[in-house]
Amino acid sequence: MRKWYMVAFCLITAFGILAMLGCEGDAGQPGNQGLVGPPGDSGIDLTKLQPADRPIGVGLTNSSFNGVEGVKSLWLTFNEAARGRPDTLAASRLENPPLIDGIDGTEAEWGEKQSRVRLAFLNPDPNVLDPTIYDLVARAGYDDENVYFFFSWKEINITVRTEDGRDTTLVDAIPSRAVRELFFDNTAQIIDDIDTLQEGGGGQDLITDTTFFKWVRIDTVSADTLICIDSIPSTPEFDSLCVLANVVADSSLLWRSWREGEDRLVVFFNGAEDPVANWLDLAFAEFFDFPGGANLPAGYDVDVWAWGSGTSDPVYIADDWHITSSGKRPDLGAPPYLDNYVLPDSTPRFMHFRDPNYKTELNLDTDLFPFWYYDAVGYSFSGWQKNRGCFVAGYVTTIPSGSRADVYAASTFESATGWVLELKRARRTNNGDDVVF
């Protein structure tokens, strides 16, 4: 029996040794090649993805060039889940494009999202009037090809009582289109040959640089007249200079800028991926000529859509500009208007075909604007009824083109509801001076 136990023990031991020392089997054969993968997904048009969120700024004026009410911290988001707030303009993806007609199509056209934006007076110059524009409502939308914006806002009348007891209106709650309306100044005269001006009628020349002073306004004209020069920009020390001179006047060339402002809405977009923190401060200051402005750093390009009730509205665009470290410049293309006023000689280049005297103080209701290019004829030096105070449009409306004309706009004004402005632009204009959505 003991022997059998020994045999079993040996066998088990041998089995254990064999199990421990037994060789591993050979590796198997390589597997078969996998099957052909499924076809890829359909391509997508990268240009039709949701646009990137970005900060924007909005500025508004009423009958003014730089009395700007606005907002510098409005976040434009294309996030579908975002809702409009005072500091957030949430864009809706639109199935059907809105009608760009300046009429509020409400939610039916724009969707539910809207922002009631808080405005602040932005010009640091204490001498500039706050126009107190209010109730700015903004909406935004987009589709595969375009972005759309809606703005509505209201204006107020601001009237002051002057020392003589009369009320003077500073800003009106009306559509102000009269940018640089020129007024025939029948109280002043001008002279030429300013270089003949000499102190006391002889002796040392008072002004040697005649570049700017080909024409100078004076109050009266005759031989040996006391001539008072209102201001001399290049030599401010000669302000209100009076000299006695023997001059010859040409009284046909006396036009002064009568009104400067129009109603405007200006939108700023930054084209940089990582804009400097104060880019909107710099952009506002540059575009509206605020005091103390500084240039943008190199490499930044701010896209500016400047809608003006007089300058761009007649041709259904917002004037497209951009700001770089070199300052503000219009985008490439033909402008929507031509300046009709050149300071050195105070002479309009054009007048309405019904001029001279199409609009005078006797018919102030005559509307000079829009002053279409095909209504413009060369300025006549004669025929003006000087005692009536005549007016000429300070700019001529023309047909814009190119990158300057790629922001479409339409507006309406009602005294009860104020301005309604709608804008539309292609997401990609393929113009280097435009921001891409």
Binding site: L11, E24, P30, V36, G37, P98, V315, Y316, R354
Partner: protein, 378 residues
């Protein structure tokens, strides 16, 4: 079996069992290496703009008189390639990258240019009297950006109805009146007329358009029926109206893009933007509605009495002269604008007239999606 044999049998069986256990317990060889990846699948299809939805549209053509036009009030425009160009179905063919792009020049390049067949559609009296144009051929094509149309029709003469085969390109004029002196306050207004073609599309769904076509918006020929023409039937229902005219629009290279709402008082509105046509008429009425002044605002350089004609461009005009006019002198009632903008200028069109056959060929092109609410989107 002896005891010894039995013992060896047991030992043999035990050894055999151990051997079996060894086989069972022995280590298995490792798996072979993973086979090579299969080849990548084929590329997915390139991005392709969605095919436009099939839709109904309307067609009308005139011979001289706008008020008397024949039309097809409801045609079917098929983009999906699943219909045949026949009857009232116009097939719009997708242009592939290798296909030529149809030139919008009013010259029929045939199937080679249009990559697809034409449909000869039957025309019916739509308004006024029958103008005897009973058929037109229509082609359409589209690519990722644009949709293209071509309409051809041949005029028919009818002496009884004053219809002639020929180029009619005399739209509205202001005519200096008989007996006027200097610059008479009220000039005669000649309605005039021209050869025209119109296409109409739904911008938003229009009640009964799918059954009645454009008849639902116009021409019941019954003045007693309220809102009987040029309006849709309910608020928010809009129609896109493309009107090409031999004189009013053809020289500009565009057609007059308009839209119709449910307001009959508004009639048909020009699309937004700088319009294709600028009025050249100063019109004033008294309290009773009587016209007290109707004069041209502008005249052509060199007038009076030059008898200027269409197109009269903005760079050719000066203010109208206050004197020197003689009876019968004419001035166009519209100034042609070569730069319509925004939605007013988004349909390019060009037509040519073959005087020998009396056939008009008008070709049009528009972006599929204009982003304008007053346009149909394809």
């Amino acid at each position: 079996m002896t005891r010894k044999t039995f013992k060896y049998s047991i030992i043999f069986l035990a050894a055999l069992g151990l051997f079996g256990l060894l086989i069972l317990a022995g280590c298995e060889g490792v798996s072979g290496p993973r086979g090579d990846n299969g080849p990548p699948g084929e590329n997915g299809p390139d991005y392709q703009d969605p095919t436009p939805e099939n839709r109904f549209f309307s067609l009308a053509v005139t011979n001289k008189s706008m008020a008397e036009h024949n039309g097809a009030p409801k045609l079917y425009l098929s983009f999906d390639g699943e219909h045949t160009a026949a009857g009232d179905t116009v097939v719009s063919v997708r242009l592939e990258d290798t296909d030529p792009v149809p030139a919008v020049d009013g010259v029929d390049g045939g199937s080679q240019e249009w990559a697809g067949p034409a449909t000869t559609v039957k025309l019916y009296k739509a308004a006024g009297t029958f103008n005897f144009i009973e058929a037109a051929t229509v082609r359409s094509a589209f690519d990722e950006e644009y949709v293209y149309f071509q309409v051809k029709w041949t005029e028919v003469a009818n002496e009884q109805y004053g219809l002639e085969v020929g180029l009619s390109d005399r739209p509205a004029y202001l005519i200096y009146p008989q007996g006027g002196t200097g610059n008479a306050a009220v000039w005669d207004y000649e309605e005039g007329n021209e050869d025209r073609v119109l296409l109409l599309f739904e911008i938003t769904p229009v009640t009964r358009y799918a059954s009645d076509g454009c008849f639902v918006t116009c021409h019941t020929d019954d003045e007693a029926i309220e809102r009987n023409y040029h309006a849709t039937r309910a608020g928010g229902e809009w129609m896109d109206v493309w009107m090409w005219g031999a004189a009013l629009t053809n020289p500009t290279g565009y057609l007059r893009d308009q839209y119709m709402t449910s307001s009959p008082s508004l009639n048909v509105l020009d699309d937004n933007g700088l319009p294709l046509l600028l009025s050249n008429m100063t019109l004033e009425r008294d309290n009773l509605g009587v016209i007290t002044r109707r004069q041209p605002t502008y005249q052509a350089l060199g007038d009076p009495n030059l008898n200027s004609s269409y197109p009269l461009w903005p760079w050719q005009i000066v203010r109208v002269s206050t004197s020197g006019w003689v009876a019968g002198s004419q001035v166009p009632a519209f100034i042609s604008n070569p730069n319509p903008s925004n939605s007013a200028g988004d349909v390019e069109a060009q037509g040519t007239f073959d005087a020998d056959s009396g056939t008009w060929t008008v070709e049009m092109r528009r972006a599929r999606r204009t982003g304008n609410g007053d346009d149909v989107q394809f």
